[in-house]
């Protein structure tokens, strides 16, 4: 029974990691940038979701509005921050992105205060019985919400014109361009979707902890960096699997090696071991 | 004459691409051998397998009778082979002179301790200048890499390889990007160095120059060796001419 509970725990975290990490790996696939500021968008999403839920009383409406806004902010980040420095050595964009992230965290702290905000009435706290386990509704929403969002995303990528153009651009930008795909459009779309997903993840985390705080983006997002590396930078499928694996490894790890390492250290120890064994990540790019 | 390089049964697959299939050949001490074949034949892959840049699924490679399979790239280079890149890769942070001087100082950087205990670069820079002069790009030495024409960078690759004082020089399309006169001059320089005793293996699409300077040919097509021997005789073989569909081969054979 313990195992099953740990597994479910791992799955919940894994799903959350997955929707943060997908946006990151998409950006990496297209631009070869480690987009650390993605974590700032995650936090922004949480704040907007929480504030709008408190204001309107509807979590759903808040998610839609927060996702859209954060998506647009993501596009603006591409336009004004990354686009001008794409041709520089890779560390330039990485450091710029870290700077942007730190500045964003500070802005949240200044705007919303250092101690974080809470929900006036936390949604989705009712207990649900599921296979003999007591789960909160929010757990189920996270798991099924993430899976369905990623499902829709994958359907879009496989079946729609835009999705096909987008996959072509990831594979070979020059080739895609010569077939008339607007690489710029694809990049904007990419930032919109990735950022909106990060906002969803932020809202999920705020629901789990009943809080949105300035530093909440830190740890999950560094972990998302670890995940996309594990998944073989730029490989979407690999990233999803790596997210779930990491969630489960952490859940079991905290039980078995928790005395030596905390949860985050377990994640990174796992990352380091895997990378030393397989430098290209668990799943390499094709 | 003794065998300097002995390549046996090299097989290299990249996923489904069979870049090389069971290719064997030998290079004699002091000879000038050209490795030719159409685009994608596996020529570059062969040089990379010899220098250790790629690891074939199967290969036996001996230099001077000693197996070098399994040795890392820098150790193979220290045994006396130097390769130029088909797609030039100069150190963009250094000027032309220092690109060559670094290679000329290969003994100084052989160990970290030696490297940290020597500072003076005068002798190596002087030697680099001589090499660049010899290759006809001596007046560019103080310039940055950015903005140099391909012809200059191609010769820089050759200068850098020569600076290593190799026993075996492996050239990957050194004449590409050079005009007619420059190409002939560079080929002459290489011939001259070869006459002084350096063994040369050259990949080249410029068949006119190939036929003028090489002592022997190895022809690859589709990852397999299809012919080997005296240049004039090899070029007359129907299968070699069939591999080269196009004007180039017609011209050369004429």
């Amino acid at each position: 029974m313990l195992y099953l509970e740990l597994l479910v725990q791992g799955l919940i975290y894994g799903c959350m990691y997955a929707i943060i990490a997908v946006g990151l790996t998409l950006v990496y696939g297209l631009l070869r940038i480690l987009h650390v500021a993605h974590a700032g968008l995650f936090t922004l999403g949480a704040y907007l979701g929480l504030i709008l839920t408190n204001a309107t009383g509807s979590l759903f409406l808040a998610m839609v509005l927060s996702g859209t806004t954060v998506g647009l902010v993501g596009m603006a980040i591409y336009r004004f921050c990354y686009k001008p420095i794409l041709h520089k050595p890779p560390y330039v964009a990485l450091i710029a992105s870290i700077g942007l992230f730190i500045a964003m965290e500070e802005i949240f702290r200044l705007l919303f205060g250092p101690y974080g905000l809470t929900y006036t009435k936390v949604p989705l706290q009712q207990t649900v019985h599921f296979f003999n386990m007591n789960l909160r509704a929010v757990d189920l929403v996270i798991v099924f919400g993430s899976i369905s969002m990623l499902g829709v995303l994958s359907w879009l990528a496989q079946k729609t014109r835009l999705g096909i153009a987008w996959r072509a651009t990831v594979d070979d930008p020059q080739m895609a361009e010569s077939f008339g795909v607007s690489v710029q459009k694809v990049r904007y779309l990419n930032f919109f979707i990735g950022s909106a997903l990060a906002a969803m993840a932020g809202i999920f985390v705020s629901l789990l902890s009943n809080m949105a705080e300035p530093t909440m983006g830190g740890v999950p997002s560094y972990k998302a960096l670890a995940i996309i590396v594990l998944g073989g930078l730029g490989n979407v499928g690999g990233t999803l699997i790596a997210s779930i694996i990491l969630g489960i490894v952490e859940a079991f790890g905290t039980i078995y090696v928790g005395d030596f390492l905390d949860r985050d250290a377990i994640a990174f120890a796992f990352l380091i071991i895997i990378l030393m064994l397989r430098p290209q990540g668990l799943f390499s790019r094709k | 004459m003794s065998v300097l390089l002995n390549v046996r049964n090299v097989t290299m697959h990249f996923g489904g691409v069979h870049a090389l299939t069971d290719v064997s050949f030998q290079v004699m001490q002091g000879e000038f051998l050209s490795l030719i074949g159409p685009n994608g034949a596996g020529k570059t892959t062969m040089l990379r397998a010899i220098t250790g840049v790629v690891t074939p699924q199967f290969a036996k490679v001996e230099l001077g009778g000693v197996s070098i399979v399994g040795l890392p790239i820098h150790k193979r280079a220290r045994l006396g082979m130097a390769m130029t890149n088909q797609i030039v890769r100069p150190f963009v942070t250094m000027n032309l002179l220092d690109n060559v001087a670094l290679a000329a100082g290969h003994r100084r950087i052989a160990t970290v301790l030696k490297a940290v205990s020597s500072v003076d670069k005068g002798a190596e820079r002087k030697k680099a200048q001589e090499l660049l002069d010899m290759l006809g790009i001596g007046k560019h030495t103080q310039e940055n890499i950015q903005g140099q024409p391909l012809g200059v960078l191609k010769r820089l690759e050759v200068a850098r390889a020569l600076a290593l004082e190799p026993k075996l020089l492996l050239l990957d399309e050194p004449l590409a990007g050079l005009n007619h006169i420059e190409a002939a001059r560079l080929a002459d320089v290489i011939v001259e160095i070869n006459k002084q005793g350096l063994t040369v293996v050259m990949i080249e699409h410029n068949l006119g120059e190939v036929l003028r300077v090489s002592g022997r040919l190895v022809v690859l097509d589709n990852g397999r060796k299809i012919a080997e021997g005296d240049p004039q005789i090899v070029m007359r073989q129907p299968k070699v001419r069939a591999a080269y569909v196009g004007k180039e081969a017609e011209d050369a054979a004429a």
Partner: protein, 287 residues
């Protein structure tokens, strides 16, 4: 100089030693590290534990240097397996792993609460500043010498294109490990001094933000340039102290500065300096 100014000067010196170490790894040898603070921490905790056990300060500092350098070599082996972005994330992971281990070691390392009651180094503040300053001089001199030597030449090749360097007989692995050993040893020295200076250390002093701050100092100063790194470090350490406005918004300022420098002048202060000199020089030629 008052106590406050002295303390500031000492912190600047410690940060310069720390940043020069990262500059060796990232600036000279091209190996990006997002976990430099871990080695700063290793140095600090080595001194903390040994000093509390009663060892003399010279021994403690020496042990800090060795310990950080030794673990630096181990971590450096990661750079033989993974490159660029993969290496950045791996070293970031090393930083988190270090913190995780420290936090769980309550007995020896004080866990979350940190180590306090560390004995004094045996000098007053001015004396400490002299020692820190000597450390800066030594590390700068070593860095400048390396740059001039054939080792710096080889580092440059490894940083620019390691595959080509290998074809030119460079033993890339040996040079990378050397860069890691030297750079992390400097971080260990900085950490040891820091521990004696504050006499109270906590895991959070050596977290990801510290790694990023050091990287900022190097990047803002100009990656690879010793004077640039010194100026960048002094600037980023002192500016927040200059005005209460900046200290309230220290992190915002850091973040914005980091972003702005990378966005508008990726070569940092040293790059701007070089550009000015070039323009000036060209004018001089024209005369």
């Amino acid at each position: 100089m008052g106590i406050y100014e002295l303390s500031l000067a000492i912190i600047v010196c410690i940060n310069i030693v720390l940043a020069l170490g990262l500059n060796l790894i990232t600036g000279y040898c091209g190996q990006i590290s997002l976990g430099h603070a871990a080695f700063f921490g290793i140095g600090a905790y080595t001194v903390g534990v040994l000093a509390k056990a009663g060892f003399p300060s010279a021994v403690c500092i020496f042990a800090a240097i060795l310990m950080a350098g030794f673990i630096g070599i181990i971590v450096g082996t990661a750079s033989l397996r993974v490159r660029d972005d993969f290496l950045a994330i791996t070293t970031m992971g090393v930083g988190f792993l270090f913190l995780g281990i420290i936090r769980q070691q309550e007995g020896l390392l004080g866990g979350e609460m940190g180590l306090s009651g560390i004995p004094t180094i045996g000098f007053d503040k001015p004396g400490f500043l002299v020692i820190a300053f000597i450390a800066v001089i030594l590390c700068s001199a070593l860095s400048l010498y390396i740059k001039r030597s054939w080792m710096g030449f080889a580092f440059d090749a490894v940083a620019t294109d390691e595959d080509t360097a290998k074809l030119l007989t460079v033993d890339v692995a040996a040079y990378k490990l050397t860069a890691f050993a030297l750079g992390t040893a400097m971080a260990g020295l900085a950490g040891g001094l820091y521990c004696y200076f504050t006499r109270f250390i906590m895991p959070d002093d050596f977290g990801f933000l510290t790694s990023i701050s050091v990287l900022s100092m190097v990047a803002v100063g100009g990656i690879g340039s010793v004077p640039g790194v010194i100026i960048g470090t002094a600037l980023l350490t002192l500016l927040p102290e200059m005005s209460t406005f900046l200290s309230d918004y220290k992190l915002l300022f850091y973040g914005a500065m980091l972003f702005a420098v990378m966005r508008f002048a990726p070569e940092g202060i040293a790059g701007i300096g070089t550009r000015v000199v070039q323009i000036y020089g060209r004018r001089g030629d024209a005369k």
